[in-house]
């Protein structure tokens, strides 16, 4: 098991190198001269040249990439063109906000979706099932930003219950978390339902009933535990999505998270900031995926056995 974890961590390295390569070249070859953006409007050709020299923009791109990667080994992701601050530090300042939003959103989604998914599966092909599925369809089809705006209009402008943006305590977390969570809830509901439908027809459910177990025990202890793997997968996917920044929701609610950092930096052509933030997101995604895979082993002994065998 431990060998499996070490192997997985080593496998992250090529993933991160590949991401950094793609994103570095993409960001540096899209054209546009950062020096021009940074220089004051009436700068002379010489001043611009000085800025280029200062940023190291005159080196060939592969040299710059090499230097960048060497820096990365030391935990240095460069300095922002715009704020002149360390990229890694800026990212880490924003990360807790995104984590807070991501976990709250996924928690809300799970609390709504898993019970709803089980409920609709038990009542398959009745109006209760249809009702739940309509809700899920609605959740999937609703664009995030639209839902966010609607929530702001209702709860901030009309009812004046909650702030429309910013980050001041738990109250300002509710609307963005709901916005992000609704889309997730829809997906998790559908996955839970189909996983439960699969499990409900299994023979071991009849075995459990024949033992004299109550319907509640049969559904939750025997059914849900077997349906968990796909449910955990989809929850994990949503979590890693949310952790790399819910760009739209963070923008609509001016939430100071990673997603907004990336969007802002792109619009300001802050190449080091964008590159660094995306590489960090990649690292984060790899870690979350590893954790999810380890959670599988906790719930399913067959997967645990597989991990140990593969070592």
């Amino acid at each position: 098991m431990i060998r499996y974890i070490i192997k997985r961590i080593i496998l992250m390295v090529p993933a991160i190198i590949a991401t950094s390569f793609i994103i570095y070249f993409a960001m540096n070859m899209t054209g546009g001269d950062p020096a021009l953006t940074l220089a004051p409007e009436n700068a002379t050709e010489q001043q611009i040249e000085e800025i280029r020299e200062e940023l190291g923009l005159n080196d060939p791109i592969y040299v710059r990439y090499g230097k960048y990667m060497l820096g990365m080994l030391k935990g240095d992701l460069g300095t922002s063109y715009v704020t002149k601050r360390d990229v890694f530090k800026t990212f880490m300042e924003r990360l807790p906000n995104t984590i807070e939003l991501a976990f709250t959103a996924v928690l809300i989604a799970t609390l709504i979706a898993v019970p709803l998914g089980i409920y609709t599966a038990i009542h398959q092909n009745t109006w209760k099932d249809t009702g739940g599925m309509v809700f899920a369809l609605f959740g999937v089809s609703m664009p995030n930003f639209w839902l966010g705006l609607m929530l702001i209009i209702i709860f901030s402008l009309n009812l004046k219950w909650l702030p429309s943006g910013g980050k001041e305590g738990i109250r300002s977390l509710i609307l963005p978390a709901l916005t992000v969570g609704m889309g997730f809830a829809a997906l998790i509901t559908r996955t839970t339902r189909s996983a439960m439908l699969d499990v409900i027809r299994q023979d071991y459910m009849t075995t459990a009933r024949a033992k004299g177990a109550s319907e509640k025990t049969v559904i939750f202890q025997h059914g849900l535990k077997n349906a968990l793997i796909p449910i955990i997968t989809v929850i994990g996917m949503q979590l890693s999505n949310a952790l790399t920044g819910s760009v739209l929701a963070e923008t609509v609610f001016s939430w100071p998270g990673v997603g907004r950092l990336i969007v802002d930096s792109i619009s300001k052509r802050d190449t080091p900031m964008v590159t660094g933030a995306i590489i960090m997101s990649c690292v984060l995604m790899c870690v979350v995926n590893l954790v999810i895979d380890l959670i599988y082993a906790f719930f399913d002994p067959r997967i645990k056995a597989q991990y140990s065998r593969k070592g």
Binding site: D203, T206, T207, R209, G212, S214, F299, D300, P301
Partner: protein, 330 residues
């Protein structure tokens, strides 16, 4: 009355689907004496498993529905029990061994937990004690106690079936429903498992309903035999009566399709045709379309059970004819 553990009367079970109504069990009546084993024989789709699930009142609903009849278990009707009484009865008074041990066990629970669950549900004992009892049960079916903490995927098919047996017997039920307990196993393992079941129910004074399509198994284990065809019992009697004085053409067909080890070169004689679609049963005797003795009369009315002597009954109109004998007339 009191010497019967189970009395099924006029049981009708149907599955109502979008495509039509499946008449799985039609007017079924039989009984099992205390400490006796009844073999329920018939081909796939004859309604054997539906009958067993009905006794536990576990017909999946929808689409299944028990339309009418009564199932008296030691004097009380299973079909009128409420949910609480049913849960008390299942596993405790009546337990079931399922056909396919590969799917009957929960893959994410240890073997020990699954046996212990049955005990915990019916007796007020601690988790630790129930686990100890589970280990004893494992030992009883010939599996090392230390394996109680293993998961089903670590066991072979034969061992899993032993575990299923351990679960069924954990609470000492009065009646055991064994639904083709050896069908999914290797031939070499089949005899072992059958021997184990036989030994355990004799030791524990249990009654058993043994569902099978294997007449060899019946001969070895059963006191009485009921032959089922298209949801009806076509012949019922003691094992000796069924084997020595076979009366129904279908039973005869079953015997003819058995291989004879003494004459290896001989060809098997299968029953021609297929069992009728239970969604669209023929009007008269369901077996008439495949029956070599059938006459016009057979296609018109459904034969009732006719007493042949002893406890031997047959549902066949041919016996209205004088001097009718299987294999003799034709």
């Amino acid at each position: 009355m009191t010497d019967k553990i189970l009395e099924v009367k006029d049981l009708v079970v149907q599955y109502v689907t979008d495509d039509g109504c499946v008449e799985a069990v039609n007017d079924l009546s039989f009984s099992i004496g205390k400490k006796k084993t009844l073999g329920l024989v018939g081909e796939t789709g004859a309604g054997k498993t539906t009958t067993a699930l009905s006794i536990l009142n576990l017909i999946p609903s929808p689409p299944g529905e028990i339309k009418s009849g009564s199932i008296m278990l030691d004097g009380s009707d299973v079909l009128t029990m409420d949910q609480e009484e049913l849960q008390k009865m299942r596993g405790n008074d009546v337990a079931m061994i399922f056909q396919d041990p590969m799917t009957a066990l929960n893959p994410v629970m240890t073997i020990g937990e699954q046996i212990a669950e049955s005990i915990e549900l019916h007796e007020k004992i601690s988790k630790k004690e129930s686990m100890e009892r589970a280990k004893e049960m494992l030992k009883l079916v010939g599996i090392a106690e230390s394996r109680a903490y293993d998961y089903p995927h670590q066991f072979s098919g034969g061992m899993r079936q032993r575990v299923v047996i351990a679960i069924a017997l954990a609470c000492n039920p009065k009646l055991l429903l064994a639904d083709e307990p050896t069908t999914a196993l290797d031939v070499t393992i089949q005899a072992q498992v059958l021997e184990l079941i036989k030994k355990l129910i004799t030791e524990r004074d249990m009654s058993m309903l043994l569902i099978t399509h294997d007449l060899g198994v019946v001969a070895e284990v059963c006191d009485d035999v009921a032959v089922m065809y298209a949801g009806r019992i076509v012949e019922i009697g003691t094992a000796a009566e069924i084997f020595n004085e076979t009366a129904h053409p279908y039973t005869e067909g079953l015997f003819n399709s058995l291989p004879n080890l003494k004459q290896r070169g001989e060809k098997l004689v299968p029953i021609t045709g297929m069992m009728p679609d239970p969604m669209d049963l023929p009007e008269g005797c369901s077996f008439a379309p495949r029956c070599p003795y059938a006459t016009e009369a057979c296609k018109k009315a459904n034969p009732g059970l006719r007493h042949l002597g002893g406890s031997h009954y047959v549902a066949c109109q041919a016996y209205e004819r004088e001097n009718f004998k299987l294999g003799g007339e034709q």
